[in-house]
């Protein structure tokens, strides 16, 4: 590509500048014409970024009703433009030259995304029922992995899949015991400043779990045997790792089981009732305190199970939880706090972003290291821009 550097520099500058103009100007135009300005800032920013005055001027003149279709459309255009820019800047990158490589990255991102989603669904379930973000979630995930590991040390001939239910049971019990002792007093109104207490006490419990595990098992990296011993599984242009596929299948199965539980059983109805209105639930014979404990237990169980699912895939150290926890925060905020389908989509999106980001980063050795950072950047943007997330309830 024979583009003069000056053109590239101006191209890079023009987008953000027009974006700023759009973000600042479009809501004002809408308000001046007496129309609802919700979403105008976003659409203005993206439209300005993509096409500058070409798209801003008609918006300014016709002021169409800005439905979700508009924001999705301009966002897609922006993504396309960024990709083109990337292709111009790095013409030799594998993501530009090799379509099969991109497809493989997408497939591996989606595969791992289901497990990410499984853990995040637990966190969002706890939030939707209790209104508490558990800062110990990553440590439950870590404990789940270790329970599975030590179980398989005892039962060496078994497939690592038997670790999943056992780890789930262990973390269920730990989680419910913790909720009963430390979070229930908060719901009974025995504690001042409940919000701050919830942050600190879950954080403190995570700290305790992490150091206890570190003291008990030592700072060595460990891993169980794989689910399946087989070479990669070829499907058209895709080369998939069977071990990860099994992990993803376990994740999908557990998420489906959870959705069934929440939608069709009495327990699920109780949980949903408490998450919608505690007092009304109590009046209709659902004990909110019991539901709180159960929701926390189920949430931590899911974390533990996803830990047990991933220990045959990744290596395990006692501080593996922090990264996983941060990843779950990203996912649930992206999907909207308390929204279970949101957590599912968030998990898939983060899986994709990580795989593509790591695979396409210009310097491959750094791409893998920045894997988590790509998700975090999206997270920071979502928090600042739309804190309710994609599927969030308006507060």
């Amino acid at each position: 590509m024979g583009l003069h550097p000056t053109v590239i520099v101006w191209g890079l500058l023009a987008g953000p500048i027009w974006g700023l103009i759009g973000a600042w100007g479009l809501p004002r135009v809408y308000r001046q014409k007496g129309l609802g300005a919700s979403g105008a800032g976003t659409v203005g920013a993206l439209a300005g970024f993509v096409a500058g005055p070409l798209l801003l001027a008609p918006l300014w003149y016709f002021t169409p009703e800005l439905t979700r279709r508009w924001s999705v459309g301009v966002a897609a255009l922006a993504a396309l433009e960024l990709y083109t820019l990337f292709a111009i800047l790095y013409p030799d990158n594998l993501c530009v030259t090799n379509r099969d490589y991109v497809l493989n990255q997408v497939a591996s991102g989606l595969t791992i995304g289901f497990i990410y989603a499984l853990m995040a669904v637990g966190l969002t379930l706890i939030y939707s029922v209790q209104g508490v973000i558990s800062f110990a979630h990553g440590q439950f995930y870590m404990v789940g992995g270790y329970v599975s590991y030590y179980l398989l040390q005892l039962l060496t001939d078994f497939n690592p899949i038997i670790g999943v239910p056992v780890a789930g049971l262990a973390t269920l019990i730990i989680g419910m015991a913790f909720e009963r002792t430390f979070l229930r007093p908060m719901h009974l109104g025995q504690i001042e400043r409940a919000g701050e207490y919830a942050i600190l006490v879950t954080f403190g419990f995570g700290f305790f779990l992490e150091y206890t595990t570190l003291a008990a098992v030592g700072p060595f990296s460990q891993k169980t045997g794989p689910f399946i011993n087989a070479g990669s599984f070829v499907l058209g242009p895709l080369r998939l790792l069977p071990n990860r596929l099994v992990a993803a299948a376990v994740g999908i199965g557990l998420i489906l089981a959870l959705l069934y539980l929440i939608r069709y059983t009495w327990l699920g109805k109780g949980l949903r009732a408490v998450s919608q209105d505690k007092q009304a639930a109590a009046v209709s014979g659902v004990n909110p305190l019991t539901m709180n404990t159960l929701a926390f237990g189920i949430g931590t169980m899911l974390a533990g199970m996803s830990g047990a699912t991933l220990i045959p895939v990744f290596t395990w150290v006692p501080w593996v939880g922090a990264t996983a926890a941060v990843r779950s925060f990203v996912i649930i905020v992206l999907g909207g706090l308390g929204a279970i389908p949101g957590a599912l989509f968030g998990g898939l999106i983060i899986g994709l972003v990580q795989a593509l980001g790591a695979g396409c980063y210009p310097d491959p050795s750094k791409g893998a290291a920045y894997k988590e950072a790509f998700g975090l950047v999206i997270f920071a943007l979502v928090l600042l821009w739309r804190p309710t997330g994609l599927f969030g309830r308006e507060q």
């Binding site: 973000i133 942050i199 006490v201 403190g204 925060f329 920071a380």
Partner: protein, 335 residues
């Protein structure tokens, strides 16, 4: 009233004199450096107490801001050959600038969201420092020159002590001024405070900037003494330790948090290994596990911390009884 103030000043004076003469009794440079580290964490915990206890902003970016101060000083010293003093000044300003940006970005975010955002920020920063090894040397860290050539452990002790007293004094003055009143009012009810004429935006950002400057300053000074800064200092667990110190000391009292950090730090260091009657016990990570348990029980059963109520009892006994007696009456009338 007069007697209470006298008692406070006398106690402070005694404490300061004790700390000033302590190096003569501590002797070994290992013990001196442990106490110096205690001062460092005391500043961190106290400034965290100012930010989250008094102003109600739960930030997990404290260690990251410390690291920004230290890394700025380290990179300036290494690549441009500036003196430590220049590095410290620029590092402090840099931390303040980042604090300003975070504070402004987070204005709209409520407690849990702010915590999440600051965790994300610290993690991005740590990952970036680990990855960009051609500038930061990754996990090996960057070396820093000593504060001045030929500094002794004793000199470092006095530098950190001066920093502790200076920042604590500043923070006490702030907490007692209109500023402290305003941020506490905002913590209780932001809208009510705004309705009473408090410029909420300005004070929210200001408290973030001030604490960032303080931790940037003490970070860049402290790591000049340590001699090396690595991304590991910004781990979430390090931040967890600072929070634990502050909570155990008393999150709503600057002095409580500082004392909590100081004592816990030294206590944890002493528990590293113990010799009792010839028995040699190494506690390793178990002491932190026990510390975590202590943190949780403090939160559950002593929300004001373990030290703050004791300090309060010692200094404010008469006042406390008086207010308790006054409070009882209307409650009984109502019942």
């Amino acid at each position: 009233m007069m007697r209470r103030i006298d008692r406070r000043w006398v106690a402070t004076g005694i404490l300061v004199v004790l700390l000033l003469v302590a190096p003569s009794f501590l002797k070994s440079s290992y013990r001196l450096s442990v106490v110096t580290g205690g001062f460092f964490y005391a500043i961190l915990a106290a400034s965290w107490a100012l930010l989250s206890g008094l102003a109600g902003q739960f930030s997990f970016a404290h260690m990251a801001l410390t690291g920004i101060g230290a890394y700025t000083a380290a990179l300036l010293g290494r690549d441009l050959g500036t003196s430590p003093v220049t590095g410290i000044i620029v590092g402090t300003l840099m931390a303040g600038l980042v604090g300003l940006i975070i504070g402004t970005l987070c204005l709209r975010l409520r407690a849990a969201y702010l915590a999440l955002f600051t965790i994300a920020f610290s993690e991005i920063l740590r990952i970036a420092l680990l990855t960009e090894f051609q500038y930061t040397e990754g996990s090996n860290g960057v070396q820093l020159a000593s504060l001045y050539p030929g500094i002794t452990a004793r000199g470092e002790y006095y530098v950190m002590l001066a920093l502790l007293m200076g920042t604590l004094g500043l923070m006490y003055w702030l907490a007692g001024s209109r500023f402290g009143l305003f941020v506490r009012a905002m913590r209780e009810d932001e809208e009510a405070a705004a309705a009473m004429g408090v410029n909420v935006v300005r004070y929210k950002v200001l408290v973030f900037v001030i604490t960032s400057l303080i931790v940037g300053l003490c970070g860049s000074v402290f790591y000049h003494q340590v001699g090396i800064i690595t991304p590991n200092t910004m781990q979430l667990l390090q931040m967890a330790l600072v929070i634990a110190y502050a909570v155990i000391g008393g999150i709503e009292s600057l002095f409580g948090a500082a004392l909590g950090a100081f004592l816990s730090r030294i206590g944890l260091e002493m528990l590293r290994e113990i010799n009792i009657l010839g028995l040699h016990i190494k506690f390793g990570a178990w002491r932190y596990a026990a510390f975590g348990l202590l943190l949780m029980f403090t939160l559950r059963f002593a929300q004001n911390g373990l030290l703050y109520p004791i300090i309060n009892r010692f200094f404010q006994q008469q006042v406390r009884e008086e207010t308790v007696a006054k409070r009882k009456e209307p409650a009984e009338v109502q019942a």
